[in-house]
């Protein structure tokens, strides 16, 4: 990549990011970028957004100290930031609020999005309904069949679901289809991103929308006298991770850890783009990517739908390159075990995505002292993972 681009173009994070899209999308994206820049400079817009967050979706979410788990692990104190308590049970509604408000500001009648786990589909569907916009959600057929609960919810919310045929889980194809649709409908419809691994301005927009997670966490931890050693987040496309990490990035005494889907744990069937991938351009952004030597994108694997993406948002690529955040992979089995351990020890049922981060946190906590603190970001509730967990249970033993 040339050094000129890095300095002159928008949406850069070090040498990563950018807006690698077909010409047809450039102008619509620029419109969103301009609307976003204006909106966040408009105190009325920001106040409206905050009202939706506080009065509708339930912000602030708490930070919980997991006393029983910490004791069981016998090391550091483990804390969790609870995005599972947002309306709809996942952090993604935070991004839906900002983006649907932008759609309204732009005078659009509908919003378009893509969903893998269905969480973002539910989130976008509910906010769109509340603001009187139609929601059209693209979802892969396999995901559609796997996520019956969220699909039922979307239908009940009046979402128009567009089924995308694809042989695997994950949102790669659904995302392409949503973009293709948008390219020809950009003057009536507003594209809302759920993935951070998207062209500018989406990485900026999602980081802004989710920054509240880290901001709240920092204040809450401080008030509770918790001075964290580690802050750990699950990383699919990394939107949640950016939301949690940004606030702490400048505090270099805190070790930030991003946990990706390690799939079968042997490195071949994985989603860990920052661990086994390499830089490339995909889905409109220059970032880390699972690819072969020919630049073909590989199919990601993870039991957690939200982690099942081949690439990652550009902010993480920069943090990885700078060494600011440590990225690791955790296997499907370890993630399931962690979710189950948490359920039995703390009565909390979290999603498998969060189980990845938790599994790593448990391992790290065991090596630390009881005066030290490890904070884990919980992205969502585990309701939609009950079947998967049950299947896991039948093949392994209980903690």
């Amino acid at each position: 990549m040339s050094t000129t681009n890095e300095r002159l173009l928008p949406g850069r994070f070090g040498r990563f990011g950018g807006r690698y899209v077909a010409e047809s999308l450039w102008t619509p994206l620029q419109e969103i970028a301009d609307a976003f820049d204006e909106a966040v400079d408009d105190p009325k817009f920001v106040t409206t957004m905050e009202r939706w967050l506080d009065h509708r979706i339930g912000r602030p979410t708490p930070v919980s100290h997991l006393g029983a788990l910490s004791e069981r692990v016998g090391g550091a104190q483990i804390w969790v930031k609870r995005e599972d308590l947002c309306q709809g049970g996942s952090f993604s509604i935070n991004t839906a609020v900002l983006q649907v408000l932008l759609a309204r500001r732009l005078g659009r009648r509908s919003v378009i999005g893509e969903t893998g786990t269905g969480d973002f589909g539910v989130a976008l569907g509910s906010i769109a309904a509340a603001m009187g916009l139609e929601a059209r959600i693209f979802m892969g057929r396999e995901d559609l069949e796997n996520e019956t609960l969220n699909v039922q919810r979307m239908l009940e919310l009046g979402v128009v679901i567009e089924t995308v045929d694809t042989g695997t889980r994950g949102r790669k194809r659904a995302c392409s289809e949503a973009l293709r649709f948008w390219a020809t409908h950009s003057n009536q419809a507003h594209y809302c991103a759920s993935s951070l691994a998207m062209p500018d301005p989406f990485p900026r927009i999602l980081a802004y929308a989710l920054g509240v997670i880290g901001a709240e966490t920092r204040v809450q931890l401080k008030r509770r006298g918790c001075d964290p050693e580690y802050i750990i987040a699950p990383i699919g496309s990394g939107a949640f991770g950016v939301g949690l990490f940004s606030e702490f990035a400048k505090h270099t005494d805190i070790q930030l850890v991003g946990v990706q889907g390690g799939g079968d744990g042997h490195g071949a069937r994985t989603s860990a783009s920052l661990v086994v991938g390499s830089p490339g351009v995909f889905m409109g952004t220059h970032s880390y990517l699972l690819q072969d030597d020919n630049g073909q994108v590989l199919v990601p694997h993870s039991i957690a739908g939200g982690l099942c993406v081949p690439n990652v948002g550009p902010q993480h690529a920069r943090w990885a390159a700078e060494g600011r955040v440590h990225y690791v992979a955790v296997s499907d089995d370890d993630a399931c075990l962690a979710v189950r351990t948490l359920a039995r020890t703390e009565g909390l049922l979290v999603c498998l995505e969060s189980g990845h981060a938790l599994s790593y946190a448990i391992k790290i906590a065991a090596t630390l002292g009881s005066e030290q603190h490890v904070v884990v970001g919980i992205t969502g509730s585990g309701l939609r993972d009950l079947e998967r967990l049950d299947q896991f249970a039948h093949s392994r033993q209980t903690p």
Partner: protein
């Protein structure tokens, strides 16, 4: 810029004859076949051949070309195959070749490396579906150093102001993409108006990709644009196969060509 592309530019400046551009997916169904179809296109007077280098996720292409890419990927078509294909084509034909793909495939080869090898193989230009001109300056330099042009695209969402800046450094020709893999949503009226606006800012031919699949449609598009890009319709013929495929391609292209003559 290659002599072949220079000649295309100057011929067009001289006589304004509408151009016919045909697209094929390299390696669909296999490399030998692609070479044969390229030859047919050249023989039938196609002015530019777009060689689509298969990518795993052809986001901006329609279903027909997506399927063709999937078939070709299955054949594991690598850059060396593409270069060999171009080189063998060049043994017999002077028709300009545009290698087209998604940016990651070029990056994977290394831009410098890619430009050198393509140039050696006789490729004249590249089109990169997900590299808008704003992001392409650095890349253009690398390719230009080896005489390879980067073809710029315009779309229904491109304003005349934006077109003006974009057209400034454009080389060879410009491609108008009316659909991006979806349905063509622009009306004849606005297509006409856009073309008229754009023509005030460039001397280069603007070749329109408008899902043309018959001679009549080609004629219609040719009235406002300086040329027609036929992709899916050709690839779809190949998907259908059958015994007399070569002959059918020949007849289809001939029909397009005849409808386009002024």
């Amino acid at each position: 810029m290659s002599q072949r592309l220079e000649k295309l530019e100057s011929d067009f400046a001289a006589d304004g004859r509408p151009l016919l551009m045909g697209a094929l997916v390299a390696g669909d169904p296999h490399v030998e076949a692609t070479l044969k179809y390229m030859s047919i296109l050249a023989e039938q007077g196609v002015d530019i051949i777009e060689l689509i280098v298969p990518f795993s996720d052809p986001t901006y292409h329609g279903p027909v070309i997506q399927r063709a890419c999937a078939r070709a990927i299955h054949e594991d078509v690598g850059w060396s195959d593409i270069c060999e294909l171009a080189a063998r084509f060049r043994e017999r034909f002077e028709t300009p070749i545009v290698a087209s793909s998604y940016f990651n495939r070029f990056l994977a080869m290394g831009l410098e490396n890619c430009a050198r090898q393509m140039s050696a193989a006789g490729v004249d230009a590249v089109m990169i579906a997900d590299l808008p001109w704003d992001e392409s300056q650095g890349v253009e330099q690398s390719f230009a150093a080896h005489g390879i042009a980067i073809i710029r695209s315009v779309a229904p969402t491109t304003s005349t102001e934006r077109f003006q800046s974009m057209a400034e450094g454009a080389r060879g020709f410009i491609v108008w993409t009316g659909h991006s893999g979806g349905e063509v949503t622009i009306s004849t009226e606005s297509f006409k108006a856009a073309m008229a606006g754009f023509h005030q800012h460039t001397q280069l031919p603007i070749i329109a990709s408008m899902k043309v699949s018959t001679g009549e449609e080609a004629a219609e598009v040719g009235e406002f644009a300086d040329g027609v890009l036929v992709g899916s319709a050709l690839v779809w013929l190949i998907e259908g196969r059958g015994a007399d495929l070569s002959e059918r391609i020949r007849r289809f292209v001939d029909d397009l060509r005849r409808h386009l003559r002024p």
